[in-house]
C-alpha cells in the first residue's frame, strides 16, 4: 500500500465509508499503536488512546488536506498529540526507564512495513550535526514522550538550562532542515 492508497482511504472515510475506514485501520493501526505504546508504556492505556485516536480520525477525516500533509504524518500527528495531551494532563509521575516493555510485533511483514516507513532521511542527517546528548534528548522527547522535567533529570541539569539548550538545538535543527 502506498501513500496514495492511504490518502484515498482517508478521503473515502471522509465520505462515511465504513469499509474504507476498516482498511485504513488495519493498514495503519499497528504503526499508530506502536507510537502510543512507546509513549505510554502501558498496553491497556495505549489501547484506550488508540480507540480515541481512531474515533478522532473518523470524525476529522474530512479535514485532511492532501496538499498540506503526507497521510502518515497526519495520522501520526493525531496519535502523538492525543497521547502527549494525555500524559501531560496527568500528575507528574516518576518514570522508570527500565520499565519499558518490549512489545514489538515480529509478525508484521516487510511489505506492510515499507508503506509506513517514510523516505525522508533528512532529519537523521541534521540530528547528527547536533551534539550527541542533544540529538538524544530530541529523539527521547519525540519517541518516548519525555517532558522537560524528565529530560532535565536524565541529564542532571536545571530545568531552565535544559529548556534553553533544547530550544537552541531545535533552532539549529530548523536551520539545517531548511538548507
Amino acid at each position: 500500500m502506498t501513500a496514495d492508497d492511504i490518502e484515498s482511504l482517508i478521503s473515502r472515510t471522509a465520505l462515511g465509508n465504513r469499509e474504507a475506514f476498516n482498511s485504513l485501520y488495519s493498514a495503519t493501526s499497528p504503526k499508530l499503536f506502536g507510537v502510543c505504546l512507546r509513549i505510554l508504556n502501558n498496553r491497556s492505556e495505549a489501547e484506550d488512546a488508540l480507540q480515541e485516536i481512531y474515533v478522532k480520525i473518523w470524525r476529522d477525516s474530512s479535514k485532511y488536506a492532501p496538499a498540506g500533509y503526507s497521510p502518515m504524518s497526519w495520522l501520526i500527528a493525531i496519535a502523538r498529540n492525543h497521547t502527549i495531551d494525555k500524559i501531560r494532563a496527568r500528575k507528574p509521575e516518576a518514570v522508570d526507564i527500565d520499565d519499558v516493555i518490549d512489545l514489538s510485533d515480529d509478525a508484521l511483514n516487510p511489505e506492510k512495513e515499507a508503506i509506513l516507513s517514510s523516505d525522508r532521511r533528512q532529519i537523521d542527517g541534521c540530528l547528527n550535526e547536533l551534539e550527541k546528548t542533544k540529538a538524544e534528548a530530541i529523539r527521547g522527547a519525540y519517541i518516548e514522550g519525555y517532558s522537560y522535567q524528565e529530560l532535565a533529570l536524565q541529564q542532571d541539569i536545571p530545568l531552565n538550562t535544559m529548556r534553553t539548550w533544547l530550544r537552541r538545538s531545535l533552532m539549529k535543527l530548523k536551520e539545517c532542515l531548511e538548507r
Binding site: G16, S61, R88
Partner: protein, 240 residues
C-alpha cells in the same frame, strides 16, 4: 523591546516544543488554544510534524488486540448519523471558505457587538462613554463553535453555542488564557444554546488581548482546576 522578529522566533521555538511534546501542560494548552485561531502558527507546527515524523521509523509497529476495533466501531457507527463526516458539505473542506468565514464573521461580530452596545447604552440616554465590550468567535479542530460577547462593565459574558454539544457525561468548560499564564476557569458553558456566565470580579480586567477556550471535561468540570481534556475551540478576544 520585543520586536516582531523576536515573536516570530519565539513562536518557532514554541511550535517545535509543542510538536516534540515537551511543553508543560498549561503551556501546551495555551499553545493549542492559539493554534485554533492562528493560521501562521499552524503552518509552523505542520513544518515540524512533517520534519520530525520520520523519527517514528524506528518505532516498531505493534498489532493492537482485536477488541479495539470493535470498540471503535461501536462508538462511531452507533452514532454515525450524528457524527458522520459525510454530513459535511464540500465547502466544509475548503480552507478558503474558512478563511473567508473568519474574516466575514469577525466583521459580523463587530456589527452585532455595536448593535448590542447600542442596546446597552440606549436606555441610559446619550451616554458617550464607551462601554468596554469584547467579542470572540471560538472555533477550532472540532465541531464546536461559539460566539461570545463580554461586557466589562457588568462582568457578564454572553454566549451562543452555534455548533456542537458535549457528549453524554461530559461538560464544556470555559477558560480565560492571558498571555503565557495558566488558563483560568470561567466555569462551565451553559447547557442551553444561549447562556451567560458572570465573570468573577478579579478577572474582569483581564480580557484585553486574552484568548477564550473551551475544553472537553468530565461532567461538572475539571476535577483538577486545570483543563484535563482536549481544547475544542478557542478564539482571541477583540475589543469593540
Amino acid at each position: 523591546m520585543t520586536t516582531e522578529k523576536d515573536i516570530e522566533h519565539l513562536d518557532d521555538a514554541l511550535a517545535a516544543e509543542y510538536v516534540l511534546g515537551v511543553l508543560p501542560h498549561a503551556e501546551r494548552l495555551s499553545f493549542s488554544a492559539r493554534l485554533a485561531s492562528e493560521a501562521d502558527l499552524r503552518i509552523k507546527v505542520q513544518f515540524w510534524e512533517e520534519q520530525l515524523v520520520s523519527m517514528t521509523d524506528s518505532v516498531e509497529p505493534v498489532t493492537p488486540s482485536a477488541q479495539v476495533l470493535s470498540r471503535i466501531e461501536g462508538e462511531i457507527f452507533a452514532a454515525s448519523d450524528r457524527i458522520s463526516p459525510a454530513n459535511a458539505p464540500s465547502w466544509w473542506l475548503s480552507l478558503g471558505f474558512w478563511r473567508g468565514l473568519s474574516m466575514l464573521s469577525l466583521a459580523t461580530l463587530v456589527v452585532l457587538a455595536a448593535l448590542y452596545s447600542g442596546a446597552l447604552t440606549g436606555p441610559r440616554g446619550t451616554d458617550t462613554e464607551a462601554v468596554p465590550l469584547y467579542v470572540a468567535e471560538l472555533s477550532g479542530d472540532s465541531d464546536v463553535q461559539l460566539v461570545t460577547v463580554y461586557d466589562a462593565s457588568s462582568g457578564v459574558l454572553k454566549m451562543n453555542r452555534v455548533k456542537g454539544a458535549p457528549a453524554a457525561g461530559r461538560s464544556f468548560e470555559l477558560w480565560l488564557i492571558e498571555g503565557g499564564n495558566n488558563p483560568v476557569s470561567l466555569g462551565l458553558v451553559p447547557t442551553t444554546v444561549r447562556g451567560t456566565v458572570t465573570v468573577p470580579e478579579n478577572l474582569r480586567d483581564k480580557f484585553a488581548d486574552a484568548v477564550l477556550a473551551i475544553s472537553d471535561e468530565p461532567e461538572g468540570g475539571s476535577p483538577t482546576g486545570q483543563a484535563t481534556g482536549a481544547v475544542l475551540a478557542a478564539g482571541k478576544l477583540a475589543a469593540i
